[in-house]
């Protein structure tokens, strides 16, 4: 990587030259824009980067007519950058191959808050679409001025503005503005295109990052190199709450390449000349730690969740006491019900399990700091880093480098603190990569969960009461707030905590973790409570297991509860699970996905576990699970499973998914995301569980934390996309994971009559449930 990128405060003028270097990844897909062509001058930088209300903060057009989108959205390996470029190209009326992208860089791109998997397109496309529409409008006005005709007489195609009926009268965007700034505010006064006119949005364009990724030329965060860079590795405590007693530096005196052993409170690292030297030095460095063994016994975790005091300060005012929905008198409705049932659903901690361990490079110099890292929150992480170092925001620059797929908050933000501490200690740029065990042992996990549910049916099999009580820790331990707040804090990062940082982190956890816990069915009286346990980390909180957001945050657990229980109610009513659901649904879009999925899968109505003519060890069954409502994506999926009653093994053979995410920007991208979400959901549902002893997480590698491999992938995932061009694009990345666990449990019930209420559905769990039932 070029040394110039190492200067903390490059103007945008320089950037386009540097871009070619970052963009070696595109070498097979065509030249980068701007090489040798004049680019506009840098926009003004506010505390959160280029101002969002300046058109030039978003779009720059060079003399050859290439438009560069400056986005604060972090690409998480889902194709969101490609989709955002589709949106810009569409509104600008340029060819897709003339749309280029500058990834997040706090000196060059506007703040676009948190890029969580499902929100990237739904939410982040809005200002981009608006800016592009206004840029087109301005360009057309310039052409109108040039040709002295009213704007209505002009048409734009592929970045060329022509006068209708006057062949030869045309001018390109490059000629109109190339290399100059618009110097306009984004006003919101221009209306973006009507979706019926879309030519690029809604089509399966090829992702811009794939060519570089198949040739190996793409620069991941793990591949960033800067001149003079040293290599670091960290040494984590062997118990979550342990503190350093002593470091024996002589234990690595015989090793080559050691530059320094660094300690800041309980954050320990080694800096070496070469990477393999740092790995060896970290492995051999003798550190004595205090004893710590305050984790609960793993088998008691769900009981312990019930005993942790509610974290009242984190519950938003609109949900006093954590009550999410209350309607009527559940107690008397249950007493009066013809039939009442109850169930408890439990799940373990889950790992994000990025394939590439987190990695960052930091260069801490007296005159400024540069950081290269993956993250979902470029500006928040920058501010967190600045606060951690005691510097002003504008002394720190964060350059986003894409990591391996993250599915939520992995160690990407944390490793930045490691890199800052090590770089500061040696006065040189230092690259720190976590080892596999650092990642699996210290990233954030999906919280373990327990939920009690009770429900009642009247004599006609209609639901008259629904009560749920859920317990779980926060889904938020990010360094940045969501909009409209801005700013970052290092306090939730476990590495900052190790380094002795005590100011608390941000607290926005309730909404995410309670998401979708209220039934989207008509249920009569209801009482839905989320007992919020607040943030938790290896170093803080009542149960020292670190929690953070993972694909869907609380939704997969909440939908597991709702969709399992609705199925249990259907069984209690002796009804077909689909008909029973439809009877209690009112949202037309949700009903539409249910119908689409059942038609596609050829669903024949009958109560679950009523058709079984099978009597060998191998049983087959089908189950439905859905969710959706409000502005969210609707999804209905049908799972077909095969269960070996003897071995307990469950195999998902086929999944049929009907999916409505509003406007579809890139159908191929949507299909990929759905498929990935379903398969990851199956993996989490069938085999994943973070294990721990009294001191620490013990599932530290892929052997102790197995995830799905090819043999367990369903034979078929059949996807029906319902496009709603009239509606805004809603989330994609998370939806298809949310209903997987219930779908499998419902299908297993159909196959065997055994109800699985505790994740993961391992062969042992199935056999336990079978034995309990017998």
């Amino acid at each position: 990587m070029d040394g110039r990128l190492n200067e903390p405060h490059l103007g945008r003028r320089h950037f386009l030259k540097g871009a070619g270097l970052l963009a070696i990844s595109f070498s097979l897909s065509g030249a980068m824009p701007g090489l040798g062509r004049a680019a506009p001058a840098a926009p003004k930088l506010g505390p959160y980067g280029p101002a969002a209300d300046e058109l030039d903060s978003w779009i720059a057009i060079d003399t050859a007519g290439f438009a560069t989108l400056y986005t604060g959205v972090c690409e998480l390996g889902t194709g969101s950058h490609t989709a955002l470029l589709q949106v810009m190209a569409e509104e600008l009326d340029i060819a897709f191959d003339h749309a280029k992208l500058q990834p997040p860089d706090t000196n060059r791109t506007p703040d676009q808050f948190v890029s969580s998997g499902s929100r990237s397109i739904a939410y982040h496309a809005v200002p981009i679409r608006q800016a592009a529409a206004e840029a087109r409008h301005a360009l057309v006005a310039m052409a109108a001025e040039k040709f002295k005709v009213p704007a209505e007489q002009l048409v734009v195609e592929n970045g060329v503005v022509s006068v209708t009926g006057a062949p030869g009268k045309h001018v390109s965007y490059g000629q109109l503005i190339g290399g100059r700034q618009f110097d306009l505010k984004v006003t919101g006064a221009v209306k973006p295109k009507d979706p019926s006119l879309h030519k690029i949005v809604g089509t399966p364009v090829h992702r811009i990052d794939i060519p570089g990724k198949v040739t190996g030329s793409f620069t991941f965060a793990q591949d960033v190199k800067v001149p003079g860079m040293l290599h670091g590795r960290v040494v984590r405590p062997p118990a979550h709450g342990a503190s350093v007693i002593e470091i024996d530096e002589s234990s690595i005196a015989h090793l080559p390449g050691v530059v320094k052993v660094v300690r800041k409170a309980d954050l320990i690292g080694v800096v070496c000349h070469r990477e393999e030297e740092a790995i060896e030095a970290a492995r051999q460095l003798k550190v004595s730690w205090s004893a710590w063994a305050d984790l609960p016994d793993m088998k008691d975790i769900h009981q312990k969740l019930r005993e942790v005091p509610i974290y009242a300060p984190g519950i938003p005012a609109k949900y006093p006491g954590g009550v999410i929905a209350k309607d009527g008198d559940v107690e008397s409705a249950l007493t009066g019900a013809a039939k009442a049932i109850k169930a408890t659903y439990e799940s373990p901690y889950h790992l994000h399990g990025s394939i590439g361990p987190s990695c960052a490079v930091a260069d801490v110099r007296p005159d400024g700091v540069t950081i290269w890292s993956a993250t979902q929150t470029a500006y928040g992480l920058r501010e967190a880093a600045a606060k951690f170092l005691g510097l002003a925001n504008d002394k720190v620059r964060l350059i986003f480098a894409e990591g391996a797929g993250c599915y939520g908050q992995n160690g990407a933000d944390d490793v930045v603190i490691d890199a800052l501490v090590l770089s500061q200690a040696v006065g040189k740029p230092v690259r720190v990569q976590w080892m596999r065990a650092d990642e699996t042992g210290w990233e954030t996990y999906k919280t373990a969960r327990v939920t009690d549910v009770r429900g009642g049916l009247d004599a006609d099999g209609k639901i008259v009461a629904w009560e749920s009580n859920a317990w779980g820790f926060s889904g938020y331990s990010r360094p940045e707030y969501h909009e409209p707040k801005q700013g970052g804090e290092p306090g939730s990062l476990v590495t900052a905590q190790l380094a002795g940082w005590t100011t608390p982190g941000l607290e926005e956890g309730f909404n995410g973790i309670a998401l979708e816990s209220a039934p989207y069915y008509t249920v009569g009286s209801k009482h839905v409570v989320f007992n919020y346990l607040g943030p938790a980390s290896h170093r803080q909180g009542p149960i020292r297991m670190r929690v953070g957001s993972m694909r869907g945050v609380g939704s997969p657990d909440n939908v597991f509860m709702v969709e399992s229980f609705i199925d249990e109610l259907a069984a209690a009513a002796g009804a077909d699970p689909v008909e029973f659901r439809l009877k209690h649904l009112s949202d037309p879009r949700t009903i539409a996905v249910v119908k689409a999925a059942t038609e596609r899968a050829g669903w024949q109505p009958r109560p679950a576990h009523s058709a079984s003519a099978e009597n060998g060890d191998i049983r087959t069954g089908r189950g439905i699970a859905l969710f959706g409502g409000g502005k969210e994506t609707r999804i209905a999926s049908i799972f077909e499973v095969e269960v070996n009653r003897k071995s307990g093994a469950i195999r998902v053979k086929k999944v049929t998914v009907a999916h409505d995410c509003g406007l579809i920007v890139n159908p191929d991208g949507v299909r990929n995301q759905i498929e990935g979400g379903v398969i990851q959901g199956i993996s989490r549902g069938l085999m994943e569980e973070v294990t721990f002893d009294r001191s620490r997480v013990t599932s530290l590698d892929w052997a102790s934390y197995p995830i799905i491999t090819f043999p367990d992938v369903p034979d078929e995932i059949d996807i029906v996309l319902l496009n709603r061009p009239d509606l805004p694009a809603a989330g994609v990345g998370e939806a298809s994971t949310k209903n997987v666990w219930a779908g499998i449990a419902n299908a297993v019930f159909d196959a065997t009559g055994v109800r699985l209420r505790r994740l993961p559905f391992t062969p042992e769990r199935f056999k336990e449930a079978l034995a309990k039932q017998a």
């Binding site: 070498s27 097979l28 998480l76 390996g77 889902t78 194709g79 090829h206 992702r207 990052d209 794939i210 060519p211 990724k213 198949v214 040739t215 190996g216 030329s217 793409f218 620069t219 991941f220 793990q222 591949d223 015989h254 090793l255 080559p256 070469r274 990477e275 393999e276 790995i279 060896e280 399990g353 990025s354 394939i355 590439g356 361990p357 894409e402 990591g403 391996a404 797929g405 599915y407 080892m435 596999r436 191929d668 991208g669 990929n672 995301q673 498929e675 990935g676 398969i679 990851q680 993996s683 590698d701 892929w702 052997a703 995830i707 799905i708 491999t709 090819f710 043999p711 992938v713 995932i717």
Partner: protein, 169 residues
């Protein structure tokens, strides 16, 4: 430099390896893994490290045409041999390998971190098995983990590449 003292952390040895068709010669530490040699010394960062203990498959390269894990091999072990990394799969700077083409056309990846290992594993596989079934493709890559789970698109891409390669030969 013929013998290396056991436990000597600083011993160096001279090696010569053909990497993507070019002979690379130099002194390396006897403890240096092939993956670190490729990534650090040759700047071939397309070979990714996911677990550094042989489980995930991200670091798979071709050693004399056979798919092996670069994190489990030492650089000195490949002295005199030929290594192909993901950077060496394309026949030229402007033409992709049919598998690379197919991964582009079929979205055979999401984040792409596992992709180099998938590609090298599949290049070897398609040589041995030019006309595979979907099931055979699944088995062939069952040792490579993809957390984004673009598994189905990988199978699709592989079948399409295999067909193109058969047509082309």
């Amino acid at each position: 430099m013929t013998s290396v003292a056991v436990g000597d952390e600083t011993a160096m040895r001279r090696i010569g390896v053909t990497v993507n068709g070019t002979l690379q010669a130099g002194e390396v530490s006897v403890r240096l893994t092939l993956a670190d040699f490729l990534r650090q010394d040759l700047k071939l960062t397309g070979t990714h490290l996911g677990c550094e203990h042989g489980v995930c498959g991200a670091c798979t390269i071709l050693l004399d045409g056979r798919a092996v894990r670069a994190c489990l091999l030492l650089a000195v072990q490949v002295d005199g041999h030929s290594v192909t990394t993901v950077e060496g799969l394309a026949p030229s700077a402007t033409v992709l390998h049919p598998l690379q083409e197919a991964f582009c056309a079929h979205h055979g990846l999401q984040c792409g971190f596992c992709t180099p290992g998938m590609l090298t594993t599949l290049v070897e596989f398609l040589k041995d098995c030019p006309d595979p079934s979907a099931e055979e493709v699944r088995v062939a890559i069952s040792g490579n983990i993809c957390r984004c789970t673009g598994y189905d698109s990988i199978v699709e891409a592989t079948l399409s590449a295999a067909a193109n390669m058969r047509d082309g030969s």
